[in-house]
């Protein structure tokens, strides 16, 4: 019962995040959806990644959104007509999800026993060390990209002021 509530609330938050027109409100709904996803992950037996998702998804990303929205400015009022007609979008999305459900849900396995008794840390650092290396490379690349983007912006802003 509890799980049903979590899933329902998560889907509601996600829907509100996507639907709203004001950006700050959308970011807050997204934070809610992230938190509920983290809770669901915890219920599925993955506590470490649930905590990480909570702090990163609900915390870091939300702060970043708020920051970016403050700098970039809110969306101007007046609902713009979406380019893809809304009925077409809904139909296609429902088809995709429906087909996915049709294929996946009947074949859902029952939960098997835990066959990996090792701790998460051991699995991460030993078996998946290539992944960790890739994450480090991605992080460095991301930092360099953002620095490059924002430095140029500041130099341009300074030039405009002069």
């Amino acid at each position: 019962m509890f799980d049903l509530l979590i899933v329902a609330a998560m889907l509601w938050c996600a829907f509100q995040a996507v639907r709203g027109t004001r950006l700050l409100v959308a970011a807050l709904w997204l934070a809610g959806a992230s938190a509920l996803t983290a809770l669901l992950m915890f219920r599925l037996g993955a506590p470490e990644v649930a905590v990480i998702e909570l702090s990163v998804g609900a915390g870091l990303v939300t702060v970043l959104f708020v920051f970016a929205i403050n700098i970039a400015g809110e969306e101007p009022p007046g609902k713009l007509r979406s380019l893809v007609p809304a009925p077409v979008a809904v139909v296609v999305a429902l088809c995709a999800v429906g087909l996915g459900a049709f294929m996946a849900l009947p074949n859902l396995r029952s939960v098997s026993g835990i066959i990996q008794p090792e701790r998460f840390a051991k699995v991460l650092w030993e078996d998946r060390s290539l992944d960790v290396l890739l994450q480090v490379v991605l992080l460095i690349g991301g930092v360099l990209t953002v620095l490059g983007l924002l430095v140029e912006g500041r130099a341009q802003a300074r030039k405009e002021l002069q």
Binding site: A14, S34, V84, R109
Partner: protein, 103 residues
Amino acid sequence: MWLSLPFLSAVGVLGLLGIGLLGLLVTRNLIKVVVGLQVLVKGALLALVLAGRLSGQVQTGQAITLTVIVADTIVSVVALALAVQVRRQFGTLDLRALSTLRR
């Protein structure tokens, strides 16, 4: 069976994927695009954790999920930085106005 955790989680995954895709289809604002993307990736993360749980290899599922979280966060950071710069350069975040690939 209908209220068991795996089934509900699978429904949650599919729901998130659908909502995320719907968001990407109808929005015209660059920052809303990032929101839609985030919802989509949450669905994917949940699917990975679910797969780990169902096959019994929870830790491997968690490790892969961690990698995806890192990658997705970096994507959203860079996308938001880009959105800020686009706003400064072009003055608008509207996708239609920004598209320059038309003849």
